[in-house]
Amino acid sequence: MKQLMRKIAPLSSTERTVEDTTRDAVLEVRGVSVRFGARDVLRNVNFVVREGEFMGFIGPNGAGKTTLLRVILGLLTPTSGSVHIDGLPARHGNSFVGYVPQKIQLEPDTPMRARDLVSLGLDGHRFGVPLPSKRRRLKVDAALAAVHAQSFADAPVGRLSGGEQQRLLIAQTLLTKPKLLLLDEPLSNLDIRSAHEVVNLVAEIAKEQHVAVMLVAHDMNPLLSVMDRIVYLADGKALMGPVDQVVQSSVLSQLYGYPVEVLRVKGRILVVSGPGTEASAPEEEPLSYVE
């Protein structure tokens, strides 16, 4: 019996600052730009995600995070640049990539149980009606167990909480056996406790199933204890690196194109517009982690 909600031990600062270039790149984003009409939403974005890595993808609302995910998923062709997944150009229908969308459309009355939703991960893209089988059931049960959702496996999905629905979407994606998991803002609309549960769950799965994760969030704090590196997106431009190198007042000010201040308060990181707040800012302390 698996431990429920296993705590993920925070990695030490030195461990996380090193990009392990011996590991294979599962995702390479090279010079990607996206333009909608006259607007540059992404400008020359570059980064690499390696095997088994937990990447936090952080940026304010409207920064272009979802747009970049859509490029990676092969749903949107970039204006310029290229995306390679496991060495091959990005395309949709690639089972190497698992995707958890930002929101799903669910009415309370949707005639679907949690396990019906999860089973769509198995063969939801195929035409025809699924035939029930023991093998199918066991696979779905395993996926439900991996996200600790057995207790509501037969509940109608439309009546579950946001966190529970989020876990089902993750279970659904796990059934496609991805090597790269993309999660679009899985923590928005979740209370602090559920957000924490989802983060730990994703980290646990990433470790156990050796899946690289790219988790999108507008607030990096819930991720500080689990992410290896960060991609910070602002004003269409992106920076990649260890958290304490990227999230600095001078670095982010350049990225945003106007002065911002990074405050580290009790192990939390706040990015506020500067420099008016300088007076109240505490001395920059070394990064310490949540919990």
Binding site: R70, L73, G74, L75, H92, G93, N94, V97, Y99, P101, K103, I104, Q105, L106, E107, D109, T110, P111, M112, R113, D116, L117, L120, D123, G124, H125, R126, F127, G128, V129, P130, S151, F152, D154, A155, P156, R159, L160, S161, G163, E164, T176
Partner: protein
């Protein structure tokens, strides 16, 4: 005495009448199809589109009357064209209602014009009755095999689309990322919806063709919580309403005020409303009983934290 009751329920001739038998056959096929397609129409939030398709069909049928062609071809052609137009115009969910509304008003205007010509200029004064209230007892027997084959084909199409439809109803982007051709699936489902609504429109009229689509589906999702079960229950509810509706309509030839029979569509719609209300009441009381027995049955994570008023002591 029993035979008196029997004759009161089944007016004389009900079982011998050929057009009643034909009505039951066509009605059953359409009810099953409408119920099953309806579950997906409700799931995808396309009830309004379904209703618009009924109106499109009416325009097509009025045009067919002008040309002297069978109404069925008018219903189907304009329904399919209108459905495709709505789907292409409304690519995003938010645009969809607007696209439907715009297409709808134009085609309705055209339909009004055709009906006007039907009643004033040509020799088809019965057109409005047939189009708006259906002609379930008056279908040309030659068209029966065609109608049945179309119903079976449409049902097969729905089964083929089953899984991608579920997936893309939850999230089009997720479905697309998984390799589902979402545009194609969406247009094919719209065609299935059009075929379904138009077949219902021929039988029970354009005014209430969506009753068979939405009523049974809405009733089913109050009662069961699995997609397959919902489709089955919706089909059964539709069947029951159709059979009872045909029976009432046949009996109503002896009823006031005119002794000429009431429209089937009225009975079907009224029965469906009744079923829906009963199902809602039933679902509410069932969930009350379930919650009393085990309040955390479905909601172990979220509900445990909330004490019931009685537990808090303020009941």
């Amino acid at each position: 005495m029993w035979s008196d009751v029997f004759h009161a329920v089944f007016a004389p001739g009900f079982f011998q009448n050929g057009s009643v038998r034909q009505a039951l056959l066509l009605g059953s096929a359409t009810a099953i199809l409408s119920g099953m397609v309806g579950v997906f129409a409700v799931l995808r939030g396309q009830s309004f589109a379904g209703h618009a398709l009924g109106d499109f069909g009416a325009t097509g049928a009025s045009g067919a009357f002008l040309l002297g062609a069978p109404a069925i071809w008018g219903f189907l052609t304009v329904g399919l064209l209108g459905g495709t137009a709505m789907d292409v115009l409304g690519r995003r969910p938010r645009e969809r209602d607007v696209a439907t509304g715009i297409t709808l008003t134009f085609i309705l205007g055209l339909g009004a014009l055709f009906l006007y010509f039907d009643t004033t200029h040509s020799n088809t004064t019965g057109a409005p009755m047939t189009i708006l209230f259906g002609s379930i007892f008056l279908i040309d027997p030659a068209l029966v095999p065609i109608t049945l084959s179309l119903a079976i084909l449409t049902l097969m199409l729905l089964f083929v689309l089953y899984r991608p439809l579920l997936l893309s109803s939850l999230s089009p982007d997720l479905a697309r990322a998984r390799g589902v051709p979402v545009r194609v699936v969406s247009i094919l489902f719209m065609s299935a919806l059009a075929m379904t609504v138009e077949q219902a429109a021929i039988l029970i009229g354009a005014l209430l063709s969506t009753a068979l689509l939405i009523g049974p589906a809405a009733t089913a999702i109050r009662l069961v919580k699995r997609p397959g079960q919902a489709m089955t229950v919706a089909a059964l509810v539709g069947l029951l309403a159709t059979w009872l509706g045909i029976l009432c309509a046949y009996d109503s030839y002896n009823w006031p005020p005119l002794h000429r029979g009431w429209p089937v569509s009225f009975f079907v719609a009224a029965l469906l409303l009744l079923f829906y209300l009963a199902a809602s009441a039933g679902a509410t009381s069932i969930s009350r009983v379930r919650i009393r027995r085990n309040p955390y049955r479905h909601f172990p994570q979220t509900w445990k934290k909330v004490a019931s008023p009685r537990e808090r002591g303020d009941a």
